[in-house]
Amino acid sequence: MDEEFNPKIIAFCCNWCSYAGADLAGVSRFQYPPNIRIIRVMCSGRVDLSFVIEALRQGADGVLVTGCHPNDCHYIDGNKSAALRAEFFTEFLEEIGIEPERFRLEWIAGSEGEKFARVINKMVEDVRALGPIRSDDK
């Protein structure tokens, strides 16, 4: 198989900052590869670890969680919960032998369309370099 590996990435975006940032990337016509599927949630704190595990199990090659910057959370500090869970989750992935780079947490403000595109470009590139998750890891 010499066809280029095309990773599939699930991105959870909070409604107030990062989903707005993703919209702004579009409005500004910043281009990124069509490998991501955005799921809108109200707050990054809504993202249950089981969503991440389920996404990887069902074939996603990477999962991205994006939220408002620290202190800018629309729900005061829901993003703090997201950050705590992300730490835990990265350790968990390491333990079960999946490259922790497949999971990412990024803070993207509604004004950061450029950053949104940059984060996606980078993540797709990095996960492409990692290749698919070895099936015995699943």
């Binding site: 919209d23 579009g26 599927r37 799921i39 109200m42 069902q58 996603a60 729900y75 829901g78 919960s81």
Partner: protein, 677 residues
């Protein structure tokens, strides 16, 4: 009360989903990249989809008619609109389906424009494939939607204003004038805030107290407006429209009903202490009013310094008072208020150099802050407006102002510009020059920010007409001559590229504005976000400048950030208008995205109560078992609790676990097929 969780029991009314998919071309915005016809055709093959169409412009009248017609004719009960961002048109399409008789929450949007066609403009095939995926995600999720109704909460027609500087006074006056009962709480013995301490006001030079005092009096006479001075808010709970507030009235040891403000007590009081209002320059008695125009004009005994209250024999004031108003036994009194809206106007504190060595403030008597100068040039101040320097009470002939003390200073960790210091320094330089044109004045500055109405004109005037000298550069060192008390400033004058040393009789530090200590307890009580500079954060920096993350709570004046009087007043009026709008409507509508708890699964561990940013979840005893209970009106619908619950006993309406899982599965359906899951 937890809401009956329809969503988890059935998929909304129990009927089979009959889904309509409408794919919008948005002219060529989507259609120019994504093959909309193909995408609509692909969607028609998904189980449950009864109608799938592409439309030129879904949001146009024609487009909406088409959707409504399909709902009525085909009996559709779920609508997926694949067009632009829901942040733009969610309300449009919710209204559209509601008009056709469908619950608005049975409509969801799929974002094909901002998040597909516009970001994959050169990959039409991949964009088309992605669009199909996104629609499948929407269709699968739509099957799990449930009928919801927006919640309405009643709004108590009463407003609480915290802090009575110019911002709080103006806000309270405006709300009360609109006919709503208003409480104005001030922690000091008198209302007025910092403005009462100022001499003149830039850029026009009006006397501060002359324009403030009439407003203070108006506040005291205004119907519906109750001033609670010398009082503090000690507790707030509740939610928009229904806040429960506890206010503690500190004892003045003077019966406010009986005191007529005649001042005989003060004359007889034997104790003299520095007056905080004069920033320590003037003296006051232990029974006092902070300044003559105080409102309410009621005397207060400062317990720490009163001989009688410290257990020594005195009683001079009690003997002097003809109205028998002195009450040494007075105790703090708590008031419970129920209010619908809250306006926070707790102002600022000025920066005070804390460390030794910062511009010799603690080492040299003749280095003073701008606030101290305001009192020293104020006709009602301790020197009757006669400017003298502290060390030897002589008139200073050479005065330096140093700008940006405690502002724009990365070393101190204070990044923000305080916005008023350039102008107040110029204002005070002008006042000094008017008194004595022979005085030499130099202003050491970094950048001059004269951005407001009439500001640049003042800047021009004081250079050209008054001959005030502007020196660009931050002073490096101040040395004081122990004999004369004069100060030598060593600075790099960056415009001359020269290091100079100049001698002055008096140095004034233009101190910056910081978040006030008084704001902090209120911020904590309400869990209000602050911006990186520490001031209270508005909901949107441009479009919602006086609202906060908490519905029904508004901010104005320097509590929100450094600003001058006109801006404080404008913001105050804006908060009054917003608060009144809410109270006139008498009901507040909230999105029904609340958390909902399944009692059967809840084990009462309380993890959810820890993560809830709003304190909306409480553990309660339910028939002998501890269960988490959501106060709906407090719940803002972030869903953090749902993610934290180890029992999966919590779910979020409209963003349920199953809905999100269905999107994940739909997004990965090819991968599953290919990978042989």
């Amino acid at each position: 009360m937890a809401m009956p969780n329809a969503e988890l029991k059935d998929n909304g009314g129990g009927t089979e989903p009959k889904i309509g998919v409408f794919v919008c071309h948005c002219g060529t915005n989507i259609g120019g990249v994504v093959d909309c016809e193909k995408v609509a055709k692909a969607a028609s093959t998904i189980e449950g989809v009864a109608v799938s169409k592409d439309l030129k412009y879904a949001c146009s009248d024609l487009g909406q008619d088409e959707i409504q017609k399909a709902i009525k004719e085909e009996g559709l009960n779920r609508i997926v609109v694949a067009s632009c961002s829901p942040r733009l048109h969610e309300f449009t399409f919710r209204n559209c389906v509601e008009e056709a008789g469908l619950n608005p929450y049975f409509m969801i949007m799929v974002n094909l424009r901002e998040q597909c066609s516009w970001v994959h403009m050169k990959e039409p095939e991949d964009a088309t494939a992605k669009a199909s995926d996104l629609i499948r995600m929407g269709v699968e999720r739509s099957k799990l939607l449930s009928s919801l109704s927006p919640r309405e909460v009643a709004v108590e027609p009463t407003c609480l204003v915290i802090g009575a500087g110019i911002a709080g006074i103006q806000a309270a006056l405006d709300v009360a004038q609109k006919g709503f009962k208003t409480y104005l709480v001030e922690k000091e013995p008198s209302i007025g805030g910092h403005m009462a301490q100022l001499d003149k006001t830039f850029p026009t030079g009006d006397c501060a107290i002359c324009i403030l005092a009439p407003k203070m009096v108006e506040a005291s006479r205004q119907k519906n407006l109750e001033i609670l001075a010398y009082s503090e808010v000690v507790d707030i709970d509740g939610y928009v429209g229904n806040f429960n507030v506890k206010v503690r009235m500190k004892p003045r040891y003077v019966d406010e009903e009986k005191c007529v403000g005649c001042g005989v007590c003060t004359e007889k009081c034997p104790v003299k202490v520095p007056n905080e209002f004069d920033v320590g320059f003037g003296m006051r008695k232990a029974i006092y009013v902070p300044f003559p125009q105080a409102v309410p004009l009621k005397y207060t005994i400062d317990a720490e310094n009163c001989r009688q209250l410290q257990g020594k024999k005195c009683g001079a004031c009690a003997k002097a008072c003809i109205n028998d108003a002195i009450d040494y036994e007075q105790q703090p009194r708590d008031l419970d208020l129920k209010v619908g809206t809250i306006i926070i106007a707790t102002g600022f504190d000025t920066y005070i150099p804390m460390k030794k060595g910062v511009y010799s403030y603690w080492e040299s008597e003749n280095v003073i802050t701008a606030m101290e100068l305001e009192r020293l040039i104020n006709a009602a101040g301790p020197t009757g407006g006669h400017l003298i320097r502290p060390s030897d009470k002589t008139e200073p002939k050479r005065i330096a102002f140093i700008q940006c003390v405690g502002s724009r200073n990365h070393k101190l960790g204070i990044q923000h510009c305080s916005r008023v210091c350039c102008m107040y320094a110029m204002k005070n330089a002008q006042i000094i020059k008017e008194h004595d044109p022979e005085t030499d004045i130099a202003i050491y500055y970094n950048d001059i920010r004269a951005f407001g109405k009439g500001f640049e004109e003042l800047y021009h005037r004081i250079r050209m007409d008054y001959g005030v000298e502007f020196i660009r550069g931050r002073p490096a060192r101040l040395t004081t001559d122990p004999e004369t008390g004069n100060i030598t400033i060593r600075a790099e004058e960056t415009l001359l590229a020269k290091i100079t040393e100049r001698d002055f009789d008096l140095v004034v530090l233009s101190v910056g504005l910081l978040p006030s200590q008084g704001t902090m307890p209120i911020q904590k009580m309400l869990s209000l976000p602050t911006s990186p500079d520490g001031f209270l954060q508005e909901l949107h920096p441009k479009l919602r400048p006086i609202e906060t993350a908490i519905d029904g709570v508004f901010i104005c004046g320097c509590a929100q950030g450094p600003k001058d009087i006109p801006d404080s007043v404008a913001q105050a009026k804006a908060t009054a208008s917003e608060a009144s709008t809410l109270m006139i409507r008498s009901k507040h509508v909230v999105e029904p995205l609340t958390a909902s708890i399944n009692d059967e699964l809840c084990v009462g561990c309380g993890l959810c109560t820890d993560v809830c940013p709003y304190g909306a979840i409480e553990l309660q005893d339910k028939d002998g078992q501890i269960k988490a209970v959501v106060t709906e009106a407090l719940c803002h619908g972030c869903g953090t609790c749902a993610a934290a619950c180890p029992q999966r006993a919590i779910d979020q309406l409209q963003f349920s676990n199953r809905q999100i899982m269905s999107e994940i599965s739909a997004a990965l359906s090819h991968e599953k097929a290919a990978g042989g899951e």
